[in-house]
């Protein structure tokens, strides 16, 4: 029986899995509760938010695939005893690594431009016994071409056509399947349903969702056709595929955006409710605590924590076995630090909301009935704070993803071996001043980060409008949507 690869559970893997599970529970809870369903309804009717959700789901999928780690079994050594324990590779792979095996292992020696078959810089090679300066062929990019000068463009066009065609086909199939499913449940003819979707007459903006999914499928199809033979976004200084690095960075960004927000919640909720409910000296003490924390400029406070954590990690090598685990300990601690230093804003909001709630009649009634303090806080106050928590959490996600890049630049972000958008920007700084500039690293980081942050922002905007009635008044409206005078 072949030995199974050994699963590796990194701290952030577990946290991310728990988070996804909690998200699933929340979705199930929303579906069951009519009030919550009604509150969420505007979000699901918003075309921009739903399109953003499609993009976000794709990013989450990439992050989830990159969060299942394992160490494969090494082939049995010659002459080893039959019952010897299986040896495991010292490298840890994720499911994403295995799916993208070819670009991951197809490293070049140094920079190469997107889709190129020649290296970025000239090297001295020997031709007929004489040294010649020329652009050498890449080891993997376009290696299958016999006469690249002639074949490169036709090959690229043929692959593009194939990929885009495949993507288009998949998009059409998906659209047909969705329309058919909807026609089936609503018991209307397929053509009517398709027309309703096209004319934006459906409750959920299916046209926008399907169009976004279609564009994504086209891109995925094109990349899938090109990637096996070329480096779609070139290679970086050490010859690693840039698109692969960017996909790996997605996980780092998602982990920081979600786990750091999660880490703020216990402090913010506990302290916010305590301060607002008990008032008096408890309130004074908690206010003092968060004023102290927020009076230190954010980057400096985080830098101070991270410098200390770094010394601590170096002192405790027993916490990790491999370099990846070491980097992961640092990533996890960075999230905790962002949580410990970042709870002041949410805490202030929750305190104010609790102050308001604890004066309301139903809380007074609960008090008169002799419900314990803990019971009132848990059953009557906490559930009514959830909308504030939700709004702040979704707004923080995109801010944290942007913040990670700045922290990495300052040198207090993720471990240098962890792929992240911040380290890509860092490299891009020197690369753009080369001549000709190496622009693909910057482009990759920019496109991926913009897609992630923009969709998070659009989704967060819709969530805020749904949960905060005041925010709805400021939505840009076109004149035609107003009633005629």
């Amino acid at each position: 029986m072949p030995a199974m690869p050994r699963l590796v559970f990194l701290a952030t893997d577990i946290a991310l899995a728990l988070l996804l599970a909690a998200l699933a529970v929340y979705v199930w809870h929303v579906r069951r509760s009519p009030e919550l369903r009604a509150t969420w309804r505007p979000v699901f009717r918003d075309a921009a938010a739903m399109s953003a959700l499609v993009v976000l789901s794709l990013f989450l999928l990439v992050a989830a695939l990159d969060s299942i780690h394992f160490r494969p079994v090494l082939p049995r050594a010659e002459g080893a005893a039959a019952d010897a324990p299986a040896a495991y590779s010292t490298r840890t792979y994720s499911v994403l690594d295995r799916l993208l095996r070819k670009p991951m292992e197809g490293t070049e020696r140094t920079y190469s431009a997107p889709l190129a078959y020649l290296s970025y810089s000239k090297e001295t090679v020997e031709v007929d016994g004489r040294p010649v300066r020329e652009f050498p062929r890449l080891a993997h990019g376009g290696a299958h071409l016999k006469d690249p000068a002639q074949q490169w463009l036709p090959d690229l066009l043929q692959r593009s056509a194939l990929g885009v065609g495949g993507g288009l086909l998949a998009a059409i199939l998906l659209a047909a399947a969705v329309v058919a499913a909807r026609a089936g449940t609503a018991r209307i003819p397929f053509a009517d349903c398709a027309r309703a979707v096209w004319r934006r007459e459906t409750e959920v903006p299916l046209r926008a969702v399907l169009m976004t999914a279609g564009v994504l499928l086209l891109i995925v199809g094109w990349v899938a056709a090109i990637w096996p033979a070329y480096h779609v976004l070139g290679t970086d200084r050490t010859g690693n595929d840039v698109l692969y690095q960017a996909l790996k960075s997605v996980r780092t960004a998602v982990v920081i955006g979600s786990l750091a927000t999660l880490a703020t919640l216990p402090f913010a909720i506990a302290f916010g409710i305590l301060a607002g409910y008990f008032k008096g000296w408890v309130d004074d003490a908690i206010q003092y605590l968060y004023t102290v924390l927020s009076s230190i400029p954010g980057v400096l406070l985080i830098a101070a924590f991270v410098l200390m954590i770094q010394v601590w990690i170096d002192k405790h090598p027993e916490l990790y076995e491999t370099g990846l685990e070491r980097a992961d300990v640092r990533l996890m601690l960075l999230c905790v630090i962002l949580g410990v230093t970042g709870w002041a804003t949410l805490c202030r909001l929750l305190r104010a909301e609790t102050l308001k709630l604890s004066e309301l009649d139903y809380v007074q009634a609960a008090r008169a009935f002799g419900v314990s303090h803990l019971g009132i806080m848990r059953r009557h106050i906490f559930p009514n704070l959830m909308h504030v928590v939700l709004i702040v959490a979704v707004l923080d996600f995109s801010a944290l993803v942007l913040y990670e890049a700045v922290l990495s630049y300052v040198g207090v972000g993720v471990d240098p071996s962890t792929p992240s958008f911040g380290s890509m920007f860092n490299l891009a700084r020197t690369e753009m001043s080369r001549d000709p500039p190496v622009w693909w690293n910057l482009l990759a980081a920019f496109v991926f980060m913009l897609a992630l942050v923009l969709s998070a922002n659009l989704f967060a905007g819709a969530v805020r409008e749904a949960f905060d009635p005041r925010a709805r008044a400021f939505r840009p409206r076109l004149a035609r949507s107003r009633p005629a005078a």
Binding site: V292, Y409, A428, M432, P437, L458, A473
Partner: protein, 325 residues
């Protein structure tokens, strides 16, 4: 009024004590000075003598809180806590771990920091208010819709991207301005033009959305309806009435930032090679110079607290209805 300010200052001092204790715990008890010495000297095999020498040179060889060998008050003054934390209240920052006088460095570097931060702030406020007013003036049109969309896109782009692309486009490609550096006199404008423009653009998206909200809040009020009812044009309503009334919340919301301008911007200064406090801090973080980081944490909180007090005072100045007791 004076009474109130005095009370706020006293509370501010209390906050600073908290900041000080926090940094002390963070820097000296979580890791001992020995650990810091090892990190600073570098390498795995550092002899104990080298560590002792490093500590003596920087005054980290004393006990943390209580010196049993001293006499009288020196039992407490000859400790790391007194020399490194209490002294900060007198703005005596001491020497950095690399041996330079931190106080002197700060005085030297505040000027360049302000030279970038102040114009960025002023131009930024003017530009964002103009953009927000335009969006409000053309509200319920495509201009408003695409303005908001554009602002959301702008704020979804990392500041690092603006800087890198700006430097590449204006310095490498067009060769309009030097890529980085700092000089006195008229050359200053040439060096500062790009960082200031990029600083304004990087904040434009988020801030103009915020100000647009403030203007729209103001526009729903009764006096605006009155102004319209008596036949004023929309432009007059907006620029004469709404702008003036909305300027107050906008100003009070940005007063808190004013003192922090002294600290400069970390990434701007390091990208453009401006010898301000921001690049000082980044260099210290990269060199793991804990003394400088501690000093900057303290300075930052002092400025933040000054900002809080200024905000409170500015409320009473612009709105006579608010009385501070």
């Amino acid at each position: 009024m004076l009474n109130y300010i005095l009370r706020r200052v006293a509370y501010g001092v209390l906050i600073l004590v908290g900041v000080n204790l926090l940094t002390f715990v963070l820097f000296f008890t979580l890791n001992t000075p020995d650990d810091m010495a090892r990190l600073n000297i570098g390498g795995k095999r550092v002899t104990q003598e080298a560590i002792e020498k490093w500590k003596v040179e920087r005054g980290y060889d004393k006990p943390l809180l209580y010196n049993g060998r001293g006499d009288g008050a020196r039992k407490f003054t000859h400790t790391i806590f007194f020399e490194r934390s209490v002294q900060l209240f007198a703005f005596r920052f001491g020497a950095s771990d690399s041996g330079r006088d931190i106080g002197y460095e700060i005085r030297q570097r505040i000027g360049p920091s302000l030279a970038v931060a102040l114009p960025t702030y002023l131009l930024g406020v003017i530009a964002t208010v103009c953009v927000a007013l335009l969006m409000v003036f053309f509200r319920a049109t495509y201009l408003d819709f695409w303005g908001v969309t554009g602002a959301v896109v702008l704020m979804s782009i990392s500041a690092l991207f603006y800087i890198i692309v700006g430097q590449w486009f204006f310095s490498n490609l067009l060769r309009l301005v030097p890529i980085s550096g700092f000089a006195g006199g008229w050359n200053l404008a040439v060096f500062l033009a790009l960082p200031i423009v990029i600083g304004v653009v990087a904040r434009l998206g988020a801030d103009s959305l915020l100000y647009r909200t403030m203007f729209l809040e103001e526009i729903g009020k009764d006096y605006v309806r009155t102004a319209r009812a008596k036949g004023l044009s929309e432009a007059a309503v907006l620029f004469r009435h709404v702008l003036r009334n909305a300027a107050l919340p906008i100003l009070t919301s940005t007063v808190a930032v004013l003192p922090l301008l002294f600290l400069g911007s970390l990434i701007m200064e390091s990208f453009f090679g401006i010898p301000g406090l921001g690049s000082f801090t980044i260099d210290a973080i990269n060199a793991q110079d804990f003394a400088v980081v501690r000093a900057m944490v303290f300075l930052g909180s002092v400025l933040y607290i000054v900002g809080l007090i200024l905000t409170d005072v500015s409320y009473t100045l612009v709105d006579p209805r608010i009385r501070l007791a």
